[in-house]
Symmetry: D2
Amino acid sequence: MGLKTKEEYIESLRQMNPTAYMFGEKITNVVDNPRLRAGIEATAATYEVAELDEFRDLVVTKSQLINEPINRFTLPPASIDDLVARVKLNRKLGNWVGTCHQRCTGLDCLSTLAIVTYDVDQKYGTNYYKNFIEFLKYMQKNDLTANAGVTDMKGDRSLSPHEQSDKDMFLRVVERRDDGIVVRGAKAHQTGSLSSHEIICLPTRAMRTGDEDYAVAFAVPQDTPGLIHVVGRSSLDTREIDGCDIGNFRYSKYCPTLIFNDVFVPKERVFLCGETEFAVDMVVKFSSFHRQSHGGCKAGKIDCMIGTALTMMEYNGTIKAGHHKQKVIDMIHRAETLYGCCLASSYEGKQQPSGAYFIDTVLANASKIHEGKEMAEATRLMIDVCGGFVADLPSDRDFDNSEIGQLLKKYLKGVDSIPVENRIKLYRLAEKLALESADTISDIHGGGSPEAHRVTIFRESNVESKKKAAKRLAGIED
Amino acid sequence: MGLKTKEEYIESLRQMNPTAYMFGEKITNVVDNPRLRAGIEATAATYEVAELDEFRDLVVTKSQLINEPINRFTLPPASIDDLVARVKLNRKLGNWVGTCHQRCTGLDCLSTLAIVTYDVDQKYGTNYYKNFIEFLKYMQKNDLTANAGVTDMKGDRSLSPHEQSDKDMFLRVVERRDDGIVVRGAKAHQTGSLSSHEIICLPTRAMRTGDEDYAVAFAVPQDTPGLIHVVGRSSLDTREIDGCDIGNFRYSKYCPTLIFNDVFVPKERVFLCGETEFAVDMVVKFSSFHRQSHGGCKAGKIDCMIGTALTMMEYNGTIKAGHHKQKVIDMIHRAETLYGCCLASSYEGKQQPSGAYFIDTVLANASKIHEGKEMAEATRLMIDVCGGFVADLPSDRDFDNSEIGQLLKKYLKGVDSIPVENRIKLYRLAEKLALESADTISDIHGGGSPEAHRVTIFRESNVESKKKAAKRLAGIED
Amino acid sequence: MGLKTKEEYIESLRQMNPTAYMFGEKITNVVDNPRLRAGIEATAATYEVAELDEFRDLVVTKSQLINEPINRFTLPPASIDDLVARVKLNRKLGNWVGTCHQRCTGLDCLSTLAIVTYDVDQKYGTNYYKNFIEFLKYMQKNDLTANAGVTDMKGDRSLSPHEQSDKDMFLRVVERRDDGIVVRGAKAHQTGSLSSHEIICLPTRAMRTGDEDYAVAFAVPQDTPGLIHVVGRSSLDTREIDGCDIGNFRYSKYCPTLIFNDVFVPKERVFLCGETEFAVDMVVKFSSFHRQSHGGCKAGKIDCMIGTALTMMEYNGTIKAGHHKQKVIDMIHRAETLYGCCLASSYEGKQQPSGAYFIDTVLANASKIHEGKEMAEATRLMIDVCGGFVADLPSDRDFDNSEIGQLLKKYLKGVDSIPVENRIKLYRLAEKLALESADTISDIHGGGSPEAHRVTIFRESNVESKKKAAKRLAGIED
Amino acid sequence: MGLKTKEEYIESLRQMNPTAYMFGEKITNVVDNPRLRAGIEATAATYEVAELDEFRDLVVTKSQLINEPINRFTLPPASIDDLVARVKLNRKLGNWVGTCHQRCTGLDCLSTLAIVTYDVDQKYGTNYYKNFIEFLKYMQKNDLTANAGVTDMKGDRSLSPHEQSDKDMFLRVVERRDDGIVVRGAKAHQTGSLSSHEIICLPTRAMRTGDEDYAVAFAVPQDTPGLIHVVGRSSLDTREIDGCDIGNFRYSKYCPTLIFNDVFVPKERVFLCGETEFAVDMVVKFSSFHRQSHGGCKAGKIDCMIGTALTMMEYNGTIKAGHHKQKVIDMIHRAETLYGCCLASSYEGKQQPSGAYFIDTVLANASKIHEGKEMAEATRLMIDVCGGFVADLPSDRDFDNSEIGQLLKKYLKGVDSIPVENRIKLYRLAEKLALESADTISDIHGGGSPEAHRVTIFRESNVESKKKAAKRLAGIED
């Protein structure tokens, strides 16, 4: 079968029949819904770029498993080069789509399962790794996209899964059958679930004795019975629906809540079921991979914001303002910091028992801590450089209005040489980059909350060696 | 006539007949348009609180001019106490409405004109102060709201007004008649222009020889012929239109671009016309007052975000999480910094030749520099504490849907004791506080760009005395 | 008696006979020891400026108690104006001496005792307020300086005073006699203890049942038997000893540890003894006053660093470098933030039952939180602007050396018009401002640790009103 | 000859006869001067660790040039692995010595010359590369240390070298002879010049027409006639002289100014002479390499500060304080950021025409920008966690004093289980880490000023591609 074209990808989604709601209504044609389509286009870009010269070497690789060319987004890293390519590809794509392309999460799940299912089998003699490999072949052969069902609803956050008064606040196994399991629960912030073919679920946190039903991992098609996608509101979501004032001309992002209303999972699609002590491995591996994915794509998004700021400086006549240039440098510095730490986390990766590769978690989390703070700062700097019309720009429909359109265009003009339409479009893009909530909130909460990133770098650092060094220099003998 | 009630205020707007556009369509009933009404309600709050015990002493004062009780928003400060009351009232109102109440700008204009028109008359023997005093009496007697027409469109920002290829990029006098003047141009970011009775225009920058036509200040009713309000887009603007997912249950903000398409201004409403060297006085006084207004109301908005964060911690079961408490402290610190610097700028105010009082500009600008950076940080902290559903929350219409509503409510539940509806509402408020573009962009660009604030504190500081002190300590004799 | 001149002040110290050690040796002539003298000079400046026109109105005031002109540093604030004058005087003095003048701590103790002793007496019928008033008259009549013995040694910080294995880790009463008490313990970081006439001790933290012996406040002369001053090392302390490479030509700072080796305190000098619940009042009042004192003087020190940076820009030929100017603006912004919040905390002060005035603690602590972070940043900015010779500058003795002195001066020359000696002196001052440990560490730990300041603003803020506002806007009814 | 032991290294220095001054006096025995020796020991550590198991693989490598094992500090990187090893070795050494080991600068010069001399020869047919290779063999065979003479005195910084009124403000060729050249000038901040065998000089900035005499690179022994080392003052420099209160028990840093008082350089030691357009290549390559060196060693120094903070928490009884742990995490984050960006800059290195490897400059400078700000912040955090006795600790001589020593030790005790001597030593180390000026100022100015790092990332970033991406998304066609 091999690599899908963008068109084949979209057509493949058209063949699916998910249960989806948005704004209180059932969506029957997902692919042609303009809001969802803008998100699907972003994922489609991961297919499209496989055909572009400047991307091909990065995105097309070969699977040792099926011995065919595949899209890198279906390949668990099998080398340091693969780990590095993840970061570079994500940065280029982030710059290319100016938002979330939504396909990294599936790869982060595959990468996690390629390591942990093997370890579980080693300990328990289970078949998870075999199940996973078969699933992976299917994904690779068909060039499919998967989504990461990780974040549970969590209910009362001071309680563990089995302590909740409603036992479904974390997704769990409610029935074990010979041919598979039935699961119930919900997963939040399911970016691109309707742009995916498959939903891969992993535990969202460490599990302990008593949490056995919650230590579960599996994959199901996004249109499997009982699965309900409820697309959440985001700040600019009616723009695509209305077809005007869109900002990012091509791409967008949407995030459903995914309800598993007693969903059957066939046994060959189960990758963990009850082995509580491996839940933490899954979530730590996944979240580290995903935090690293962010470091690439968000650096790419900052690149886009830098491009917007510099172009706006040309349009506004401020290209020579020293303080604006300083702000652009501050933006560059942030992009390179995210990128540098993530690259290093790849280069410092290590092979795992299954043969797959895992990144350095401290460096990946160091990058994510920056993202959680500095994306907001990069955005603020872009707004500062661009000026007040990042908000308050009249609508395209005002510009098209016969009575006031010409007047508005007269007054929105910047420097002489630039058509006013370009300046208007660029302000609209700046608004989209700065204020699309589905995207900006993920800077902070994507891949776990900021505190989780901090706890990780403390836990994973070798603090004892640092204490030893200090004592040696102070002349202290223990 | 005296103080208007909230209802009288709204009725008075209903009597006006402005030319207004939004989303490409002419708006004939401004007051009942749900989007505009949410903004009008925020301004109406400045009338309503005059009747509330906890606000009355702060908002109701007495005019020496008309010898009647008036709303403080029509009083140019005549004492240190008046300067201080500005800040305290704005903080309380910011917390009360959780957004921009939109009435400060008019007061900032009145406060500016109460100082500068007097100085112009002293130098040139003009009648501007008299004109202003008559206008002020009218504002006070009728408890009117005014809007600040300051920010010009600016065109090519590397050029001064008269150097622009389109001479209208800064508002200017195009005709001088015996009974008044005709002006042409446009003013951007006219928050609440349709919630105001009057539009007061001031120059947006220093003017030099050659810029005489641009050194103009005046007031006109918001429905005067030739004046066109074009309401800009903001990130959540369709929520009020659609009547769902509103977030702030009561209040919102909107920002038109205001086109002066050859508007006649009667001579008794002209406060500056051609005296170029006073343009800078007007803009410096106005922007200092306005930057200080921000310090009050934005501290109040942070208060609101603190309240949201702490309440969400209760709802989510994270009230005991030490790192969340640290983030709340960071938010408090930011609110108090804005507030403290602004209060100090009031207490350190000085009487001007006209008798009116002016604030300390260094301290007011010090506050605004913090606002330009720290509002974004306070917002980020609130999002961090609240969690990912600041974005992606399903629509009220999904919650009301008979097929999925109950399921969604089941899964959105936080701690047992809190009704899920409260948690949903609070997430919606957090979204509104964080992501309403009309409001958040003003954190950065309201009252001039961040660089303007910085240039001001350098220019207004006595750096020579600091150099002298350093040399004395170093033992350097000049 | 009245106001002392600088000379009278120094002479009065000469009459005292303290037990003092430094570098392992007993110091018999404190006043003429060059290291201690540099610190004494800084305190002497508080006497000297009383004779200068530009300071007199701020520093000389009148005591209602003794009906004589007094130095403000002996006056517990009796009005808002007094609270404000504290801040303004400290800023001017900070700029004047470029380091710590060391006299604020005594005033902060007097200001605290003027409030709390009254409250204790009201509850317990004790005589502390009367004792205090007599002591205060003595201080005022003789224009004396006092030092604040507050910070105990603390031992194991996870234990309260009476839980320590060595019971003396917090200063305590070891004997109660008819004519007074005997105390034992030590106080750390006793800036200027040898420049003071009196040592005033207050508890360092809240005390509980079991801590009765530790709830003690009193005053003793600095040369009282059993009191031992051990002057600590600081980073540049041998410069004054050696008499070269001094940096600040006039002033410096030193900080002893003060050991109370069974010191007798006459009963009329006791201000608290066993009333545990008032310990917290004393430390909260003192630390709030002292954090505010810092806000003034440290703003003044930044002023000095700004002057150094700007002068160095002139000397180096970088006065037109835009990025340097931006850094100076960042320094100004920090100075004004400290100052603004402290001024506001004064203006918002309230009268207490005794009649004395107390500041707004939230605003005072908001200022101190900035100090704890931003003094380091202001210092870093000064170093950035000045260049690498803030370290590594050859010694004055090298410049004076006949073989290499001329060569060194040739090469240290900056712009033509400035004598090389001036540039050398200014670099030396920059080094002193940046790297004198006794002064820079107090930016962080003076007035309690940064965490203490943070806990205070949370505890003292009205968070309930903020939560109420958020719920009202979200439409949540409790 | 091969690798030197630590003892052989020190003996080799003893054989040299430099002209050196300190505190105005000529130093005849450099090696046994306690202040200089502490710096020499830090460089000696680079020899010593070659014999330690945990360092050997990193520090001992093989030269293809001389086909012998060599110390990595004499090897211009010949592969990506070499570039990576630089960073890892520097981090380990930074942690090992807790200050500057001073040997990186020589390597950075060798690495630069290995690239640029080849390019010059290609263009001009000169012999510089051959000269360099011979010199390199000599360095490798004898395991020598070199110092980087880069930073000129600069005079009036608004003028280029040949515009200065004193032409010697940048080092220049004053005579060209058949057998070599004579140079005059001075180089500032020559860390470890007396711990080095050779001084390598490179231009400090871009040169233009008219600056031919200043475009000069060469190497001379540190005791060559006419070369004068004047050791500058640093903040704690008398501690080693006095032999007490040292802090870092083993190592320190010193920084001379180096005067070239008409020094002859034989022609085979000349690496550039007059080819102005290559001056910028040399300084850009050197400063990029050196900024990267910092990223490694300063991360190692933060490791040391982390160890100090955590150990002090144990000693003080605050190991469970959540806010202290948060501060340690902030320190870890900073260390990993410096390290991650530097590692990435190595991994992304590229081979140059000569065959040597060069790093990615954007990532190396991104790291240095962090260093310039975040080392100060890491230091501040360490001080915050440790407490006030980072300053003001009594002298070792006080602790040894028979009258007060026991009392002091009684009161300096922390938790019961830790000997008071250990706590005292650890405070002394904290003081040294925080306040040694020679080391801390280099955080800011080492490798060029912060603005230079910023300009570099802007210049070296591909901003056009970012602008193109923004326009594509906005739908703008050029």
